[in-house]
């Protein structure tokens, strides 16, 4: 149906409900950005059951109040790619110095989130390096079981994205995910031969 065999894909990091913080940036920025990019497909962090059942209550604030309204009023098709509703903040060490250290990282991340007041900032190099480092350190503090669960969730999410790409090859695909998944997904999706990974502003 579509003659192009290459899919242009960009991963857009969002703050989501990460660390239970109110989102610092105006969601209108995110709405305008996604509407302006006008991707053919928008892979978003919501489970298929929740999306098809019209139940947005468990979805992140950005999906509920920014992505879903834009999708309803445009030709953008939302593809739900979240395998389970478990969030990043659900993986936390229960006791000991690991917990104290994670709380410290969390406070630093909260400060960073307040400083990153626009989607452009969240996806910028500075916040990217800061956030990625702290998230990686936080993950080291988790139990091996939690790390495996997080890794498995990311793998399943990536698999759902790849399936969406293969179902409709040659389209422009935007993946909007919590920013701590972005580095992992970028590395994973770059390995796909039929995917051309670009920055979101190049989509």
């Amino acid at each position: 149906m579509n003659t192009s065999r290459h899919t242009r894909l960009a991963v857009l990091g969002t703050l989501s409900d990460l660390h239970r913080q109110p989102i610092a940036y105006d969601l209108n920025c995110l709405r305008a950005l996604v509407a302006d990019l006008a991707p053919d497909l928008l892979c978003a962090e919501i489970t298929r059951e929740a999306w098809e059942g019209g139940n947005l209550s468990t979805a992140a604030l950005e999906v509920r109040e920014a992505l879903a309204p834009v999708v309803a009023a445009t030709d953008i098709v939302l593809v739900p790619v979240l395998p389970t509703s478990k969030q990043y903040a659900d993986f936390t060490p229960a006791t000991g110095w690991h917990r104290d250290l994670v709380r410290t990282f969390d406070r630093l991340l909260q400060w960073g989130q307040r400083a990153a007041d626009r989607p452009e900032a969240v996806n910028g190099a500075l916040f990217g390096a800061f956030c990625h480092t702290l998230c990686a350190l936080t993950e080291l503090m988790w139990t091996a079981e939690d790390r495996a669960a997080w890794e498995a969730q990311n793998r399943a999410l990536a698999e759902n994205i790849v399936q969406a790409v293969r179902r409709d090859i040659g389209r422009r695909v935007l993946v909007a995910v919590q920013c701590q998944r972005k580095h992992w997904l970028d590395a994973r999706l770059r390995r796909e031969a039929d995917v051309e990974l670009v920055d979101y502003w190049e989509l």
């Binding site: 579509n2 302006d36 053919d40 009023a73 445009t74 030709d75 098709v77 969406a164 179902r167 389209r171």
Partner: protein, 199 residues
């Protein structure tokens, strides 16, 4: 990254209706409200036409698609020069999808109006000498959803495909079925009992 807005003019009988529609359209992404007499002409003219489709229909201009906003109507058939009928029982944000569809040169019929049309027994009059085996599984799926009265966007959303992909399949379908409109194709789906198979 910047995509040009689709220009939309609002017209109709009552100022309150026009003002409400203009506010709604202005709030939808990628659309821009312009005066009906603007030059170049608006890409889409929204016309709030009340109960009677034939009353005071606007004149169609080259490059301009007319989308009628209708309440309950007796005959949901597209009048000449009209690209689509948008029912007042649809969700407001669906107007953005309808405007985009007619702006691309497609027809638009709200699902409730499409179902009303199909329920009028016209399926019996539809041509039925088609060999459905010439269609791919995906084309049969799309034809079935068309027979349920879904818009292109709704079909795409149901199948997790892009709207452009669905439109490509529909163009192929029309050629293979030798039909000229989505209504004719939907009637074929009903006549062959495809529509119920996707429920």
């Amino acid at each position: 990254m910047d995509h040009p807005s689709i220009t939309v003019a609002i017209s109709g009988r009552y100022p309150l209706d026009r003002a409400g529609l203009a506010a709604l359209v202005a709030s939808l992404p990628g659309l821009r409200v312009v005066p009906p007499e603007s030059s170049p002409p608006p890409r889409v003219l929204l016309w709030e036409c009340g109960e009677k489709l034939s009353a005071d229909l606007p004149r169609s201009l080259p490059g301009m698609a007319i989308l009628l906003i209708v309440g309950e109507i007796e005959s949901p058939i597209l009048p000449p020069g009209v690209a689509g009928l948008f029912s007042k029982d649809e969700k407001p944000e669906a107007l953005g999808v309808a405007i985009r569809q007619v702006a691309r040169g497609e027809q638009y019929l709200s699902p409730s109006l499409a179902l009303a049309l199909l329920a009028r027994g016209e399926a019996e009059a539809a041509p039925h000498d088609f060999d459905m085996s010439i269609l791919t599984d995906r084309e049969r799926q799309i034809l079935a959803l068309l027979g349920e009265g879904l818009s292109n966007k709704a079909i795409a959303a149901r199948l997790y495909l892009s709207v452009r992909t669905v439109e490509g399949h529909l163009a192929n379908l029309y050629t293979r079925l030798r039909v000229h409109s989505r209504t004719e194709a939907a009637l074929v789906a009903i006549r062959h009992g495809l529509a119920s198979k996707v429920r």
